[in-house]
Symmetry: C2
Subunit: 332 residues, 2 copies
DNA sequence: CTGTTAGCGCATTCAC
DNA sequence: GTGAATGCGCTAACAG
């Protein structure tokens, strides 16, 4: 593990010169450059970034906080972030928070302790006031999650319109009794519900509060949601699920009740999760422009690190309704 | 962003004393300790880890290389790694390699450049010789993937026995024509195939080479595998798939051919992926002790960092056969 | 074009 | 029990 000193000595130059060829800045004669490079290659020298980072007071690392790496939804988002980061000489680190506030706080120390230059949140267990304080002092960007009080750059889609389109699709198929399986306390699902309600009202139908149920963001949440909806005297004939995972649970539960999808009940999911086209039936869903979301998020992050851009804006990207088997017009 | 200097000044002590209370080592009178701590709290001081890491020449960070974070199989493995790391004062960083050798090489530079203390591979695009050279010089552990020529600690299950049990399960159900959808060039799948062949031979049946097909480690690989197997004049009545994702593709393709699972064809997957219990039918599979695999891998990593343990051993943990709908005795 | 030097923030040895 | 001084490896100002 040679140091820059040893390289300099062996090449018969000063450390400054070695540093110059290493970083390819400052003037170096092509002759000494060649000489130094030869020694670098010979010794297989790799600069110790601990020294460089301390000196430069930056690491060119961006930390991305994920609630759970196994959520396939974030895969392409992260890819968009990575590509953009790499193009700009930055690297992406990923950490799992499991919605654990203590764990999240450890990773935030990476930021405060200068181990990373910025943090991208795809979820947070922090209260808004605390988050805003953090965002005021450090480069922080929110991706795909928000509430109205947050003061930090946010990249997302227009969830209200997406919810409107998903619901309108069901209405156009002739459904009049449309349920919704949602989750509590999440800004994006609140907006999706507003869109759901607007679509129903604009169609001249009535919003039935019993048709809106709240469960967890999971397969099991979907199963429980269907159970609750089908305990009603007059259950819905279509259900808009806040996520594809919930939709999968919903379909599985409907099947176990002997109901067919889409023949007896139509289902719409959300996210275009990788499971959506694979499931049986394949699931109609809202596709988010995940790669672009990641890309845009990273662009804003890099701007913030450079000090430009203000702290208080929201970017909304375009989504798509993808129609699959789970809402095909019934064959019967 | 105060430095240790400013804390020392404000507290009226030397930086050495501040450092002592920070790290809780070396003698400090309880009085000055209290005084210093008060200033630390007041200034909200957080040590700059760039300085500390350079000085200590360690970062207490372990990098975990994943081919793709969205593979839910690794979620619990990573959790096991994280818990073990945290218990020992280490943190886990995750990076996506996408099986891209250039990307992998960037992340390996983190190790060579002292940004992380060790790297855990769950996959690698490197050739064995290169890998072995790396493993000789740096703390490196392989998790769940291997080939016989690799000289580094490896944590995995006994894939030969697992393949044997999966196949034997199908034989016990009365199947005599058992296909296998595998992938090429992966040590674990090679071992699973050996187990598959041993089970068939021990049952007095014959291995039919046409029944073993190779495709990619994916949903589409499963669809193609079934297509190939069912072009045969005498197709199998049961198929052992090297992964649950392949099993999902296989089932989807069988259904589209009008064949029922398990009534017409029985399917066994591998990994107990989160999709396995959710799919319709739910999938019989081999469950790996994922959390323990992660835990053990990290334990070995920490040993290697401390310099103990040799470089050339393999740890095999216990697996389980989980029987679900996809191999239920046919109703017909 | 090249070398000398200072210092990033911290932990640690050695005096006292 | 405490402080002064050194240096981890590197970059960047400055001088030549």
């Amino acid at each position: 593990m040679p140091t820059i000193q040893e390289v300099a000595k062996k090449a018969g130059v000063s450390v400054a010169t070695v540093s110059r060829v290493l970083n390819d800045n400052g003037p170096v004669s092509s002759n000494t450059r060649k000489k130094v490079q030869a020694v670098i290659d010979e010794l297989n020298y790799q600069p110790n970034l601990l020294g460089r980072n301390l000196r430069r007071s930056e690491t060119r690392m961006i930390l991305v906080l994920l609630q759970n790496i196994s959520n396939p939804f974030y895969s392409k988002i992260v890819k968009g972030m990575e590509d953009t980061a790499h193009e700009n000489g930055y690297n992406v680190l990923i950490c799992n928070t499991n919605t654990d506030i203590d764990l999240e706080s450890i990773y935030l120390d990476f930021l405060k302790n200068k181990l990373v230059d910025g943090v991208i949140f795809t979820c947070t267990a922090m209260v808004t006031a605390e988050f805003n304080k953090l965002a005021k002092n450090y480069p922080v960007v929110l991706c795909n999650e928000y509430n109205k009080d947050i003061k930090a750059p946010i990249v997302t889609i227009d969830n209200e319109i997406a919810g409107y389109e998903a619901t309108s699709h069901l209405i156009k198929l002739g459904h009049k009794k449309i349920g919704m399986i949602s989750v509590n306390n999440v800004g994006s699902s609140y907006d999706r519900m507003k869109g759901y309600m607007r679509a129903i009202e604009e169609a001249g139908l009535e919003v039935n509060d019993d048709y809106i149920v709240y469960h967890t963001f999971s397969y099991k949440g979907g199963m429980r949601g269907i159970k609750q909806l089908f305990e009603l005297d007059d259950p819905p004939t279509a259900v808009f699920c806040i996520s594809d995972l919930i939709a999968v649970g919903a379909i599985k539960e409907l099947k176990s009740k002997g109901l067919r999808v889409p023949n007896d009940v139509a289902i719409v999911g959300f996210d275009n999760n990788s499971i959506a086209p694979m499931y049986d039936p394949s699931i109609t869903t809202i596709a988010q422009p995940r790669y672009d979301i990641g890309k845009k998020t990273m662009e804003i992050m890099l701007q913030r690190i450079k000090g430009s851009g203000n702290n208080n804006y929201i970017v909304k990207l375009e989504h798509d309704l993808i129609i699959r088997e789970s809402t095909l017009p019934s064959i019967d």
